[in-house]
Symmetry: C2
Subunit: 193 residues, 2 copies
DNA sequence: CAGTGTACTAAGCGCGCGCTTAGCGCGATG
DNA sequence: CATCGCGCTAAGCGCGCGCTTAGTACACTG
């Protein structure tokens, strides 16, 4: 029986609430009640409601960026590399669909400074996709006309999943991830081995 | 010099405000000020802030559903049909990117009844995509394993565009629409003529 | 068993929200 | 030129928000 610290219980409650109602429609009373505490408890552990969002958003962006960098570095084969990237990126959004909903859709609720920081992580993520696609094209393994545009389309598929994905629905994270990895390879015109 | 009715000026102002800040972060004072009126004027022409959102959302859903039905009916050739659908659907989201942002991302702010109605339109849209893909697969023109999953992926590409699309950026609605139509045909494994 | 630090709560402040009410200005009508 | 009604506004109500302050319960220490 491990005790979950109050600070984390509040973060988990905030993820749930932000994902269900959105940041602006969520009250600090809702978050603290979900965590089984009084309204004032939130301010013992976190500076503000926005700070709570920032912590969730920042951790999520660092997490996915790291994951993609690892997937990129895992092999030099463009086909396996892009497939792994799209598989992992999609799977993360399915497994952590609530967290991902907050990470992807509540950026505009951050303060300008926090928003700028997060925008940097997002550019990094785009660049990793672009590099993976461009390298495949340069090696003649992919057929691509618009590298940044194609990168955006692949990222969009995975991100938009959090708008409709239901954890208790028929699709498992692995099955969507496999489908989207296959679609990504088709979209880049990958030569089938 | 045509006079724009106050009712529509308020709707246009609401689209701008909802798209920039989101429904819950937008105040009725903000909307009426943008329309050049006093706060009370909003309630002369609209029953509530939610009703304003519903009108925007409903019109947008009917609009896109109709557009897709037309594109579906325009030809019996699966390849041309799906290309037209994805082109038009993508182009609409680029041309009306602010309106589309509200239509796609503020559904949870609707009343349960309005949300249910809009959900029906969304199911219709999914079904049109599924029909177009299934028919291509049945005729042996497409290679598809998961029809509903592939439909969701194509829809996601177009919808998620409103998260990043900038009207004054380098990409024109037609250029993104063309790219996404091509990617859609690749994703369904369309035989090139 | 008094003293102390930690983790939390009870109570509530001030603000800005969605929305209402009462009434005004003014062109159209007789 | 009195009357009416339409389109709009000035003023403000009551509520629930984010957040603060002052204090309490209690495990731990000597």
């Amino acid at each position: 029986m491990t005790e979950v610290p109050a600070r984390e219980r509040l973060m988990d409650a905030a993820v749930e609430a932000f994902a269900e109602r959105g940041f602006h429609a969520t009250t600090t009373r809702d978050i603290s009640t979900r965590a089984g505490m009084s309204p004032a408890a939130l301010y013992v552990h976190h500076a503000s409601k926005e700070q709570l969002l920032y912590e969730i958003s920042s951790a999520g962006h660092l997490n996915t960026r790291h994951m993609l960098a690892d997937a990129y570095a895992s092999t030099a084969d463009p086909v396996a590399r892009l497939a792994t990237m799209q598989f992992e990126f999609t799977k993360w959004h399915a497994v952590h669909s609530k967290r991902a909903r907050v990470v992807q859709y509540e950026i505009s609720a951050l303060t300008p400074e926090h928003r700028r920081e997060v925008a940097g992580h997002r550019r990094d993520i785009e660049r990793i996709y672009q590099d993976a696609i461009r390298e495949g094209a340069d090696k003649g393994v992919f057929e691509i006309e618009d590298v940044p545009g194609t990168a955006l389309a692949l990222i969009s598929m995975a991100i938009d999943l959090v708008r409709w994905y239901q954890p208790d629905g028929p699709r498992t994270p692995d099955s969507v991830a496999q489908l989207y990895a296959d679609l990504a390879l088709r979209a880049v015109g990958a030569r089938t081995a």
